[in-house]
């Protein structure tokens, strides 16, 4: 019988891995968040939307402890981030992964070495061979070809950088994944591939995903619920169809504007195509395909 190391902590089994309570963020005179509340359910993909400057990224930075808030409380895995000692937060840091907007890869390290950084930092007892193997399969799990492992970030395209950033975020098998506009700047094909990857990973790895996005397709395709940031608060958290029923001017404009409509049509088409064997569906696909995006009143 051989013995290994102790597990650092159990997997989180509560209902809400992230609980934000009365968060206040002020920069000088400007108040970004005032008494903001938000609960993220375990195992869901929560989309976070809001106009520019409503503090989506600030909210994420507050949750992961990069931005000490002016007031309120943030709990991740029932551990307070705002009031904790730095050492205590460290115990939570290896349970989440963060993908920053530009990927934020270390430019002097190769992709594989980037993935190794958190492993080395938190688990120095893992042997070099195993660590190399882990880095390699994580990179491939993120949908990059094997050759990408030895490439420097400057040799990668924008979409590949995001995938490499995702591989680093997944390095420690986190329970919680923060994605800051993962599909921004990707072409539609790349963006929808990234969406599928996010959903797949969430399902196989049992992740909870906090996803900031502007991409309406992402919201429709993969988000279980969407939190809307406006008026310095989270004004609503619900599924997309339910949100569209709400009578808030910004929400209406966002989801029922031309782009929101187009995304909805696209999704409807996708669903219909899965039932193409039925004549009604085939007919509907034909009809919808002809409608120029944004102009249909379906």
């Amino acid at each position: 019988m051989a013995e290994g190391g102790k597990a650092k902590h159990e997997r989180f089994r509560g209902d809400y891995p992230i609980v934000v309570d009365g968060l206040i963020n002020r920069f000088g005179e400007q108040t970004v968040h005032e008494d903001l509340d938000l609960k993220v359910r375990r195992g869901e993909i929560l989309g976070v939307v809001g106009g520019s400057g409503t503090g989506k990224s600030v909210l994420m930075r507050s949750i992961i402890g990069l931005q000490p808030p002016s007031g309120g409380n943030v709990k991740v895995f029932d551990q307070s981030i705002t009031e904790a000692e730095p050492d205590e937060v460290l115990g939570v840091r290896d349970r989440w992964g963060v993908l920053f907007q530009g990927g934020a890869l270390f430019s002097t390290l190769t992709v594989g070495e980037n993935v190794e950084v958190p492993l080395k930092q938190f688990y120095p007892d893992i042997s070099d061979d195993l660590r190399h193997e882990i880095a390699r399969y994580k990179v491939m799990l993120s949908g990059l070809p094997e050759e990408a492992v030895s490439k420097y970030p400057s040799e990668l395209s924008g979409g590949m950088k995001k995938r490499a950033g995702l591989a680093r975020a997944l390095a420690l098998d986190p329970e919680l994944l923060f994605l800051d506009e993962p599909t921004a700047g990707l072409d539609p094909i790349g963006a929808s591939a990234f969406d599928r990857l996010t959903k797949e990973l969430k399902e196989t790895l049992g992740l909870t995903v906090f996803l900031i996005t502007h991409d309406l397709d992402t919201l429709h395709e993969i988000c279980d619920r969407v939190a809307v940031l406006a008026d310095k608060k989270v004004i609503a958290v619900d599924t997309v169809p339910n949100l569209m029923e709400l009578d808030h001017p910004w929400i209406q404009e966002y989801f029922n504007g031309p782009r929101g409509r187009a995304a909805l049509t696209a999704q409807a088409l996708d669903e219909l195509r899965q039932h193409m064997d039925r004549p009604v569906a085939a007919h509907a696909v034909k009809a919808l395909d002809k409608t120029p995006p944004g102009k249909d009143k379906a």
């Binding site: 019988m1 051989a2 013995e3 290994g4 190391g5 102790k6 597990a7 650092k8 902590h9 159990e10 997997r11 290896d94 430019s107 002097t108 190769t110 594989g112 070495e113 190794e116 492993l119 938190f122 688990y123 007892d125 893992i126 042997s127 195993l130 190399h132 193997e133 882990i134 880095a135 390699r136 399969y137 994580k138 491939m140 799990l141 094997e146 050759e147 492992v149 030895s150 490439k151 420097y152 970030p153 400057s154 997944l170 420690l172 098998d173 797949e200 399902e203 196989t204 790895l205 049992g206």
Partner: protein, 369 residues
């Protein structure tokens, strides 16, 4: 479920079973990994039904073992099975570090690259100078395009805000020269010649030379880093598309500011050094402060001042050129900014010292000795 990752080998007919128990997570696996890999029993099945928790790292290890022993994984929970499916077929042999040549071919290659780059570097400097002259020419023809505000801003940064540090440095240098000089000259009983020493050496050489080195460190590096960062963030490209020439907007004001401020700073540095010398003269040699200063007028020929003042703008030009040129050469990543900034300071100081030697010979030859 904080427990330990453990394993045991259960002998059975048709090969033994490797039974894994406890959590198989990234946090627990480090300790069992080595032992598991060295298991040399004939393993037919890997039983993971008692694994309390598993993540992709645990699944990866199970997969690797299964392939190695050609064994079958049994008892996987639905979650474990999902992970196993997700990672099967991944992995490979690709090295993590970028491919590197062996030592004996890496060194010659690096040498060759250096030489090759040196050639293109010279071409680069010359074409940069050419572009600079063309911009200067077109500015002279269209003086309204000249950026006066930028020039004054740079003159403030290069000149005015450097006054305290250059003043302090020169004052201390004056003290050191006077004190050390006096000790040596005392052997001949010629302490009064300390005045000649301090006055001539600071006005001719040290005032301007030390100022040039200080400006290279302060402003030359700033030029390279500023322009380099602007290149990385595509600000320079944005300027070009709007129709602003980066040469006119960024390079010429900086170079002109350095050329104009260097003589002033150099003269100021010499004055501060002489004051430093005079303080030593007053306290150590018994030469009254004001006597020291008035003797300077008698023992230092006027051409010593000219020697310093002629060199100063040339040094300023070199320092600013090195900074701006290296800034414009930045491309790729943030590491390049650092490299180029270092290079700008090192090459500027080197060029200034080499040129100073030529100037020394030249001025002696024309009789300003």
């Amino acid at each position: 479920m904080t427990g330990l990752a453990q394993f045991e080998i259960v002998e059975g007919d048709g090969g033994s079973a490797l039974v894994l128990t406890g959590p198989y997570l990234v946090s627990t696996i480090g300790a069992v990994d080595d032992e598991l890999r060295t298991v040399d029993a004939n393993v037919a099945t890997i039983d993971i039904s008692d694994v309390s928790e598993i993540d992709t790292v645990g699944a990866w290890l199970a997969c690797t073992l299964a392939t190695e022993h050609d064994a079958e994984i049994t008892g996987a929970s639905s979650r474990a099975q999902r992970l196993l499916d997700a990672i099967s077929g991944l992995g490979g042999e690709e090295k993590l570090s970028a491919p590197r040549l062996p030592f004996w071919s890496r060194v010659p290659e690096a040498m060759g690259e250096k030489i090759f780059n040196a050639r293109s570097g010279i071409v680069g400097v010359v074409s940069f100078l050419g572009a600079l002259l063309i911009s200067a020419g077109s500015l002279i023809r269209n003086p309204r395009r000249f950026r006066t505000v930028a020039l004054f801003r740079q003159m403030e940064l290069v000149g005015v805000s450097a006054l305290p540090i250059i003043g302090l440095m020169s004052f201390l240098i004056g003290i050191v020269i006077a004190q050390q000089g006096a000790v040596q000259l005392a052997q001949f009983g010629a302490e009064t010649l300390t005045i000649n020493l301090v006055g001539r050496i600071t006005l001719r050489e040290l005032g301007v030379l030390m100022t040039a080195i200080m400006v290279a460190g302060r402003s030359g590096s700033a030029f390279a880093a500023e322009i380099g960062t602007m290149k990385l963030t595509e600000e320079i490209d944005a300027m070009r598309t709007i129709g602003i020439s980066p040469m006119e907007a960024l390079v010429i004001p900086r170079i002109l500011a350095a050329v104009l401020m260097m003589p002033l700073l150099g003269f100021y540095a010499s004055c501060m050094a002489i004051i430093g010398g005079a303080v030593i003269g007053d306290t150590m040699l018994g030469i009254p402060f004001w006597t020291f200063l008035s003797r300077i007028q008698e023992v230092v020929p006027t051409y010593d001042l000219w020697v310093g003042l002629v060199k100063a703008p040339v040094f300023g030009l070199i320092v600013a050129l090195a900074g701006c040129y290296n800034g414009m050469q930045v491309k790729g990543n943030s590491e390049e900014v650092g490299k180029r900034t270092t290079l700008s300071v090192v090459s500027a100081i080197f060029a200034v010292i080499v040129l100073d030697a030529f100037f020394a010979v030249f001025f002696t030859e024309i009789g300003w000795a």
